[in-house]
Amino acid sequence: MFRYFKNLYTYRYLLYNLTAREIKSRYKQSVLGYFWVILNPLFQMLVLAFVFSFFIRIPVEFNIPYSVFLYSGLLPWTLFAQSIMSATNSLIENETLIKKVYFPREIIITSTVIAKIYDFILASTIFVGFLIYYKISIGVIIFYYPLIIFIQVMFSLGLSFILSAFNLFYRDVQYLLNTIILLWFYFTPIIYPIELIPDRYRFVFQLNPMSVLINAQRRTIFGGAELNYTSMIIAVLLSLFIFQVGYMIFKKLEGLFADVV
């Protein structure tokens, strides 16, 4: 992990350039351009909120409107899903660079993930607007929030390392991933609160870092309750473990990337 951050530092200007390119080259031929980053999750939220507050009512805690509850989970989820999906394809997209010159390939993965964090921050402005509009007060432990996002990013990076490397050898990875992400979405308390799940099944969610992290993010925003520290410790350890294993596999296979891409 030390090596990872050292490489990021050494190649910081490349990381900056690749990230800027990632952000710039998207939506280049569209009228609304970067607004899509904000509009897409907003529309998605509106559709889901419509379904789950009119047809099927889902009770939520913290005394907040369902739309706000949903948005608070949907945004970090979008960050996660977009991160690993675009990172999985990123090595293939940067084929020309990989074949031409050596630099640590994790720079590519990291730049795609950072570009998604940028999207996440932009999309969150609407969410802040919602908080202000509904006069929702922020919890006192909000300062944990960036830390939990950081853990989520480490978890995403770990998965991205494994998926992107394997995807070079077998492109099935990217197709399979779409299905898994969809399934994962429903197994994570985004459209429903975790309290809706009977106690005897809760352990499944405890082993899903995304579930614990999104739940914890909500608690820091809306306050009221303490964090569940046991779950948090499991999630943090699991995330860092995935990162470490992912990075090791990635570095092990790195020398073959130019041959198979």
Binding site: Y11, Y13, L14, R21, K28, L97, K100, V101, Y170, A258
Partner: protein
């Protein structure tokens, strides 16, 4: 920049795994049937070289001889399967046809991107930017996305970016195949300058006359085998008799 630059190959072999099955659907039946998922191809076999400061090495061989693979191994883009490679000195970005630029970005943006891949800071790139542009003669097109460039313009930009970054070892792959005579001459002049400065230049080309005039050493490869490494004239003779 280093004073003692060198490239040493000790029994270097590079095998490519030729993957025939790109999807699991194809892989699984072939595993069950006991067939291999692909085969190994020897791109380089037992190559041993010793390239020293000031050497300009012409790499000769027919198509598929392993010339480009050799450059990729030197550049560190791909790792050898067996053997030892020692590189001392900073390597300039591999100059080859149609590689390395992002089509959506402009020439200017690509210069900054390529410079940063090479590990340069923004300030360092700013310093060499004008030189890169004027050498490539692309002033008018520098803010045009490179997807609109011709192959000659592409090469000019690629060559210009590579030679203006500080380096000890220059790797070129068929760079004289495109571009007009004027620019080719300009490239050769530039490379002669590097030769005088004692840099190592690896020159892959089918243009035998240029190789004879420019290089002091020759490496002849055939189907991944090292046929000859030594004086350039002997290498050319053997290549003609191959």
């Amino acid at each position: 920049m280093l004073s003692n630059m060198k490239i040493v190959f000790e029994n270097v072999t590079k095998k490519f795994f030729k993957q025939e099955d790109r999807t699991l659907k194809e892989l699984i039946p072939s595993l069950i049937k006991g067939m291999r998922a692909g085969e190994f191809i020897n791109a380089l076999k037992n190559i041993s070289l010793n390239i020293e400061k000031g050497d300009t090495v012409g790499v000769l061989g027919r198509n598929g001889a392993g010339k480009s693979t050799l450059l990729k191994v030197i550049a560190g883009v791909t790792q050898p399967t067996q053997g030892k490679v020692v590189i001392e000195g900073k390597i300039a970005p591999l100059i080859e046809l149609g590689a390395g630029f992002h089509p959506q970005l402009t020439g200017r943006e690509n210069i900054y991107l390529n410079g940063s891949i090479f590990g340069l800071s923004k300030k360092q790139i700013n310093e060499i930017f004008d030189e890169i542009v004027s050498f490539s003669e692309l002033e008018r097109f520098i803010d045009t996305p490179v997807k609109h460039y011709s192959s000659g313009m592409y090469m000019r930009l690629g060559f210009s970016v590579a030679v203006h970054t500080p380096f000890d070892i220059l790797l070129t792959d068929e760079i004289l195949a495109v571009g007009d005579a004027d620019f080719q001459e300009k490239c050769i002049n530039k490379m002669n300058l590097f030769k005088k400065q004692g840099k190592i230049i690896i020159f892959v080309s089918h243009a035998l006359e240029t190789v004879a005039a420019f290089c002091n050493k020759g490496l002849l490869l055939d189907k991944g085998n090292q046929i000859y490494y030594g004086g350039v004239d002997e290498a050319i003779n053997r290549y003609k008799n191959l």
